[in-house]
Structures are given as C-alpha cells and as structure tokens.
C-alpha cells in the first residue's frame, strides 16, 4: 500500500542553521505516527514543511506516491492535510465563526462571504462537535474569553470540518488540563477509527505512546530512530529517549544516575 505521505532526504536551512538534515519520514494509510524529540530537534520544522508553510531547501515530498513540488498551505489542504498548530492559529479578537473559516471563508460570488451559512455551520459544529452548551457562547462570540481547552476544541473542529484525511496535531496537549488531555487523546483514537491518518507531536512521551502506532524520534535535525509501539515497551522507549538525549544515538552507555534518577 502506498504511503499517504513520504519525505525523501528532506532538509531545511534557516540561513546557517540546518533545522532538518536529510530526513526520511513516512505516514502510512490509517496510521498514527508519534513524533518525539527535544526542543529544537526539528519537529515543528518537519510539520511546517508537511503543511506547506515552509518550503524545504532539499529533498522530495510524495503524496500517495506522487511527487509534489512547491507545496503551499492551500495545496496541502487540497491534498487533504489539516493541521492543529502548537500556537493554535486562532485570532482572539475575532468571532468564533471567523476563526472556524479563517483563510477559506464560504463565499457566494465575487468573493463576498456567505455569513449566514458560516454562522449556521458554526452553530451546528458548536453543539455537535465542540460540546458547547451554554447559551452565552454563540457563533458571534469573540474567542478571547474561551478557556484553553475550548480554544483547542475550536482548532480541532476547524481541522475536521474541511474533511481532511491526514490530521497533524502539533503539541495539542500544551496548556490542557488532565481531563481535556484525555478527551484529546480519545479524539486522536477517533481519527484512526475513522480510517484517517495522523501525525501526533507531543513533549509527553506517555501521551504519544498511548495513541501512536509508530514513534519517530528526531534529534538535532535528523531521524534518530523509529519504533512500532506494539514492539516496544514504554520503559524501553523511555530508556532509548534518554540515550538519545545524552549521546545523540541509541548506542553507548547511559549515565545510570540519569536514567534511574528521573
């Protein structure tokens, strides 16, 4: 079966800094891939290339086996990629409906917006998918008053609305309460159950391990290792993560005090 997405030897430089160096990465059909790595490992850069926000400086990108050049945000969307960004990509002073349809407003003709339709769609999304029950919140409410979890809900529902089959979640649990985090993880399982694919990035190794089929570990701009979660225990994975953090590879001895002390 062809991979939904494949990166071959992809690199990205920002001036002198090599954020990614010859990265090979793939996302299979109906697969959830967890992306792990320290700060500055290149996780966000990889994601932003995937969503068309950054153009890679080298390498090739394939969607469903076909090479794609000049991947832009709109092109990635056409290919079915939707992203829940770390920074959530919301505009706090704007209304809920404007946030849901940000960048692809529903229009009638000559670019004039179909405001009524967007409000109606937002209202039905609120009650069906976001679980808003309070009448104080309407499609015309500015989202600056929402809680962290509610804002994340907006970002996720927005990603789902446009019928994507590849969902990218960049640090989605950041700032969420335990309860909200559990809800989010169930949501990721729901993506898989619906036959879609996802890339899940999180600092928290427990979260990643509990939802991913496969874990890819990035370190200093390269892929340091890949593991099927069905073939490795959480303890072993954590041990390997410590090794990578210490030495940059899985080889070699780890300072015992470091791995046990934590």
């Amino acid at each position: 079966m062809t991979n939904r997405i494949e990166f071959k030897n992809v690199s990205k430089c920002f001036g002198e800094v090599e954020a990614l160096q010859g990265v090979n990465f793939h996302l299979g059909q109906n697969e959830v891939v967890g992306l792990l790595g320290d700060n500055g490992a290149g996780k966000s850069t990889l994601i932003k290339i995937l969503t068309g926000y950054y153009q890679p400086t080298g390498g090739e990108i394939y969607f469903n086996g076909d090479p794609v050049e000049d991947l832009t945000v709109p092109r990635a969307r056409e290919l079915g990629v939707e992203t829940v960004y770390q920074e959530r990509a919301l505009a706090e002073l704007q209304t809920l409906w404007r946030n849901i349809f940000m960048g692809r407003e529903l229009t009638t003709s000559f670019g004039f917006m179909n405001v009524k339709k967007m409000q109606a769609e937002t209202h039905s999304l609120m009650t069906e998918s976001m679980g808003f029950t309070s009448t104080a919140v309407t499609p015309n409410s500015a989202i600056q008053t929402f809680s962290g979890g509610e804002k994340q809900g907006v970002a996720i529902v927005r990603a789902l609305y446009f019928d994507a089959d590849i969902i990218i979640l960049d640090e989605p649990t950041m700032g969420l309460s335990l309860k909200e985090t559990r809800k989010l993880l169930n949501f990721v399982r729901g993506i898989k159950a619906a036959g879609k694919s996802a890339v899940f990035i999180d600092h928290n190794i427990f979260n990643v391990f509990s939802v991913a089929d496969r874990v890819v570990v990035l370190d200093r701009g390269t892929v340091a290792g890949e593991f099927m979660t069905s073939e490795i225990s959480l303890d072993d994975l954590m041990d390997k993560m410590y090794r990578i953090a210490e030495t940059g590879s899985f080889e070699g001895e780890v300072d015992e005090g470091f791995s046990e002390g934590k």
Binding site: P74, E87, A89, A91, Q94, V115
Partner: protein, 333 residues
C-alpha cells in the same frame, strides 16, 4: 463531515447586554456625537439650529472623510499611512500636467487616480517586501511625493477654471437640487463600499485576521503581504480622488494641497474606535468620527473660543481615544 447537508439557519436570540458588549465602542462614539451636538446647540443655538452649518459640513467634511475609510482598513490591519496627504497633491499635479498635454479632463482624472494607485502600491511594496515599518516608510514617501509636487509645479499654484466646462466637475462636486453637495454622495458611496468590503467580503475578513494575529493568518494560508499591498493601494487611489474633488471644489490647485488633512483624517479613524493595535475597528465609527472632527473647528469658533483651540481639542481627542483603547485592551487580557 458532510458539508452539503442542509443546516438549520442560525438565529441568535437578542439580548441587550450582549448587543451592548459587542457594540460598545460604536455605542460610545454615537453617544459622544449626540452629547457634543447637544452641547453645540445649547452653546451656539443661532449657528447649530440653522441648516447653513450642516450644508457647510457636507461640503467640507467629505474631503478628508473619504480618505479615512481606506485608512480605517489599514489601521485594522495593524498598519498606518502618513503619506496620503502628499498623494492627494501628487495625483492633482499629474491631473494638471496630463490636462495640459491632452486637454481632456477625463484622461487627466484617470491619470490622477492611476498615480494615486501607484503611490499607494509603492507604500505597500516598501512595507511588505522590504519590511520597513509603515510609520517610517510613509513618512518617507510623504516627503518624497510632496517634494515631487513642488519640483513639478515649481512651487506655483494654478487655476482649474477649465474644469467648469466639463461634466466632471458637477459629477464630483456639483450640488443636487442646488443643496446637496455631490462630494457628500461620494462619501456615502465610498463609506458603503468600504463597509461591504470590510464586513461582507473575504478580503475584509483577512484584514481583521492579519491585524489580530498575522502569524495565525499566515498559518491558515492567508497571504498577508498581498492584503497589505492592496490596502495601501486603496488608500493611494482614494487619496488621489480626494485631491481631485478638493481642488475642483475651489477650482484651484495649491502645491500644499492636503496639508492640514493628516491630523483630521487620523483623528477620525482613532476617535471612531478603530484600535491602534489592529484587529478591531468599524467603518460606521470612522464615519461618525469624521463628522465630530469636522464640526469641532466650526463649533469652537461658534461657541466663542478662538480658532487656536481647535488643535488642542484635536490632540485631546486623539490621545484620549487611543488611551481608552489601550485601557480596554489591558482589561480584557
């Protein structure tokens, strides 16, 4: 999710508190307007109960009010333009030069608009492509275009009586039924167009989004650079238009055309509730703001103060309206 299924239209139940919260700044500006108006009538009833003063307002306020409309779009997008007063004069000097060459006012008019469009486009390029903050870039182009006007005109003013023979003058600055000035009609047209663009068009939605959070807008695929360039271009073309109507109204061209409009136009936008921090603002607010600003000069004189007070009052209004926004913003955070 299936986007094609029919969805129940959304109808929001009306709540006075919610309405007041959402439209707070607009209710504020309308209240200020009526409070000032009543003050004017009480202090100078002879002036403010006569229709004369209102006809005068409708003649003179549109010259800067129409520029305040696209300027509102720029401020919502988080930008500023200080060069439009020079663009007014630049468009007009091109009008004169092209008329001298072609003896056709329509071609001259078109040339003036194209000049304004180009000058605005240039502002956009400086800000977007070279990354110069708009405050600095447009101070630069303000001097540049004013300098170009002085060089091209050799500092001389000139009559525009020839425009009286053409249909252009009555269309732009004539009086309907001898009473209603055409420039007021143009102000209304431009106000409605700006309102529709900002609130009903995708382009306006993008203006709000990039002024609110440009990074988010870019992540969601909005080309914020293109939006800014178009906004600056709009200011340019509308400023050239304002330059033509202001000059045709008096059938005379001064190289200093536009001087004195800068403060009033900016004050209209900020007084109208558009936030200097970007992301919020309304066309209705600017429209009312322009009429408040435009009436202050006449009112200070009518209530018995000298004209020297006018600038002090303008300054007070700008500072207090911007300060109020900074305060509201802090409280919301």
């Amino acid at each position: 999710m299936d986007n094609t299924q029919t969805i129940q239209p959304y109808k929001e139940t009306f709540s006075i508190r919610r309405f007041a919260r959402r439209n707070g700044t607009q209710i504020g500006i309308i209240s200020v307007f009526f409070a000032l108006w009543i003050t004017f009538i009480v202090s100078a009833p002879n002036t403010f109960l006569s229709p004369m003063i209102y006809k005068a307002f409708m003649s003179t306020i549109p010259f800067f009010a129409i520029m305040a409309m696209p300027l509102t779009l720029a401020v919502i997008a988080g930008e500023i333009d200080l060069s439009f007063t020079s663009i007014m004069a630049m468009g007009m000097i091109i009008f004169i030069l092209v008329y001298d060459a072609t003896s056709n006012v329509w071609v001259a008019f078109l040339a003036a608009l194209v000049t304004g469009l180009f000058a605005g486009f240039l502002n956009g390029i400086l800000v977007v492509k070279l990354g110069i903050p708009s405050l600095v870039a447009t101070i630069g182009t303000q001097f540049f275009w004013r300098g170009a006007v002085l060089v091209l005109s050799q500092g001389k003013s000139g009559t525009l009586v020839y425009t009286k023979e053409s249909l252009l003058r009555p269309i732009l600055v004539g009086k309907i039924g001898g009473e209603l000035p055409m420039q007021m009609i143009w102000l209304i047209i431009i106000t409605i167009a700006a309102w529709a663009l900002l609130n009903r068009h995708r382009f306006g939605a993008h203006i709000y989004l990039i002024g609110d959070n440009e990074n988010s807008a870019n992540l969601m695929g909005i080309n914020s650079g293109a939006v800014r360039i178009i906004v600056f271009s709009l200011i340019g073309v509308v400023s050239a238009f304002a330059g033509v109507i202001a000059s045709l109204y008096v059938t005379y061209f001064w190289p200093s055309l536009g001087d004195g409009y800068l403060l009033r136009t900016l004050a209209s936008v900020f007084l109208g509730g558009t936030s200097v921090f970007g992301g919020t603002g309304t066309i209705l607010g600017t429209f009312i703001g322009a009429f408040i600003i435009g009436s202050i000069e006449a009112a200070t004189v009518a209530v018995g103060l000298t004209g020297f007070w006018t600038k002090l009052i303008y300054g007070f209004i700008i500072v207090s309206s911007v300060a109020m926004h900074a305060f509201l913003r802090k409280r919301l955070k």
